[in-house]
């Protein structure tokens, strides 16, 4: 658009004209699709970016243009904004374009008359497909890197098992040569135990490798934490370790894979109890806590056990790294935990001081939690986005 701001006009205020010009330019130049919809969800005005992205809009409803649907969307954000006049921001999946799923971030802004009437909503949608594709590629790259680490870790595990088997063979064979039956029994037991360990090892490894499809439901984080607490209460008591819970009351529900989160917490609490068990302190304790910090759901497991020295910290998330001796751990616990947490868009962090204890934290930003699968959607009211 061109505008001769030097040309004098009748009855015109130069500043007002300039503002109009800027608004018009802004309307058409912003790289965001903007439309105005009425209460029948039909588009009554749209900017140039919208036309370039979605084509002809006149007399067409928003759900048809954005999603290719014949009727209004479930959990329609615009309907909610017409209802309560609140601004809404959501991440949505759009139509499939050139074989690719598109994603956009949509802002719903109410246009309210001085009388309070709300006839229109401005929908601003930003195409975030490129970011989403990058995010997926990054996850895939991380997964491939993990495969490499897994192979190296597998070799490490097998070497330990071989050492045990060769030890058993040596002790048994030398017992035979010396006609020492006690030694033969000892050697045979070593062989037996190591073969049992191979079996456990292979099972756990397959469990880890096959992965599982997370089953996402709306769950109570406190309820999962309570189940894990109950599971370990007796064991802790027997070991003389004080296990305590500190759950934030009325913690909102979250869309999570209940079994997955349960596994993560079991791993962390079990590690914390082990760290206490090998500590010689008299007042050993483990605290399992939950909370919400600025829209981030947090599970925390802290212990005052042995803590980790530098060498251990370096290897914490490496497969098959275990400090517990092979009868107590395969070294897959924390790696599995990290995998499950990442599937939920969260992260695992820890602090640890040798001799003082460790704190492990699972942080789940609520806006990054998984969405419900289509088949489960009807079960739950209002589940998408922020």
């Amino acid at each position: 658009m061109t505008w001769d701001h030097t040309a004098p006009r009748e009855n015109s205020n130069p500043m007002e004209d300039l503002r109009k010009w800027i608004r018009q330019e802004l309307w058409d130049q912003v790289p965001v699709s903007i439309s105005v919809i009425d209460r029948s969800f039909h588009i009554i005005e749209a900017n140039r970016c919208f036309v370039n992205t979605y084509g002809e809009w006149r007399k067409r409803p928003c759900y048809e243009i954005y999603k290719g649907r014949a009727e209004r969307c479930e959990n329609c954000a615009a309907a909610e904004t017409f209802e309560d006049g609140q601004v809404r921001i959501r991440e949505e999946t759009g139509i499939v374009r050139d074989g690719l799923q598109t994603y956009y971030l949509v802002h719903m802004l109410p246009l309210v008359r001085p009388s309070g009437e709300l006839p229109y909503i401005i929908e601003m949608s930003t195409d975030i497909t490129a970011y989403k594709v990058l995010e997926k590629e990054k996850l895939e790259a991380e997964r491939l890197a993990a495969v490499g680490q897994t192979v190296a870790g597998l070799a490490h595990g097998i070497k330990n098992l071989l050492m045990g088997l060769e030890g058993g063979i040596y002790v048994f064979r030398s017992g035979m040569q010396q006609a020492d039956s006690e030694r033969m029994v000892k050697g045979w037991a070593m062989l037996d135990e190591n073969i049992a360990r191979i079996s456990t090892f292979v099972k756990e490894f397959l469990e880890f490798a096959k992965g599982r499809v997370p089953k996402v439901h709306l769950v109570s984080p406190n309820q999962i934490a309570q189940q894990v607490f109950d599971l370990f209460e007796h064991k802790a008591e027997l070991a003389g370790i004080s296990l305590r819970s500190d759950f934030q009351p009325n913690l909102p529900y979250a869309l999570m894979d209940e079994d997955g989160i349960h596994t993560c917490l079991v791993n962390l609490v079990s590690n914390a109890l082990d760290a206490c068990e090998i500590s010689d302190k008299s007042d050993r304790s483990v605290v399992l806590s939950t909370g919400d910090e600025d829209g981030v759901l947090v599970f925390k497991v802290s212990d005052n056990g042995t803590g980790m020295d530098y060498e251990v910290k370096k290897h914490v998330f490496t497969n098959f790294f275990t400090t517990k001796g092979s009868d107590k751990g395969t070294g897959l616990g924390l790696l599995t935990t990290k995998k499950i947490v990442q599937e939920h868009g969260g992260r695992v962090s820890y602090e640890s001081a040798e001799g003082e204890g460790s704190v492990f934290r699972l942080q789940f930003p609520r806006d990054r939690l998984p969405h419900l699968g289509e088949e489960a959607k009807s079960d739950v009211f209002c589940v998408t986005g922020g």
């Binding site: 070799a155 050492m163 002790v171 060498e311 092979s326």
Partner: protein, 143 residues
């Protein structure tokens, strides 16, 4: 099988958190004429170094409480124990399973000397016994 009989007074400290490995190395070394003592972690091992005064140490790296590396550093920093030869016996290798990576890492610590030998689990018995014999002989000649 190596039929080598060591000095009967020679005492070897086996450090490993894995009982099977301890049994294996104990039996192998005793069959070859060495006395053995064992420890399951770095802290316990340091006590044994003081009370048993071993002539040689076999050391695992990944153990609870205190890693083998930490123990090794402490051992070499103390003038009273710095001369005891150490054979590292571990399943830890470098990323990608490269056995030299970890050995090089240990050697790269300038402030402390590298270990006297490095054995990747499972060990080659003959090579292991040969290394033990050489180190023990070196020690008795020096002493």
């Amino acid at each position: 099988m190596v039929s080598q009989v060591g000095n009967t007074a020679t005492k070897i400290l086996i450090i490993d958190d894995e009982p099977h490995v301890v049994t294996y190395l104990e039996t192998l070394l005793q069959d070859n004429g060495y006395k053995t003592v064992s420890a399951a972690n770095g802290r316990e091992a340091m006590e044994k170094v003081k009370t048993e005064k071993p002539d040689l140490i076999t050391l695992d790296i990944t153990m609870p409480e205190q890693s083998g590396i930490r123990f090794y550093r402490d051992l070499k920093e103390n003038p009273e124990s710095a001369d005891i030869p150490v054979l590292v016996v571990t399943a830890v290798t470098g990323y990608g399973g490269d056995p030299t990576t970890f050995e090089n890492f240990l050697k790269s610590r300038r402030q402390i000397p590298p270990p006297d030998g490095f054995f990747s689990k499972p060990i080659d018995q003959d090579e292991f016994l040969r290394a033990v014999k050489e180190l023990v002989n070196q020690g008795s000649q020096a002493g």
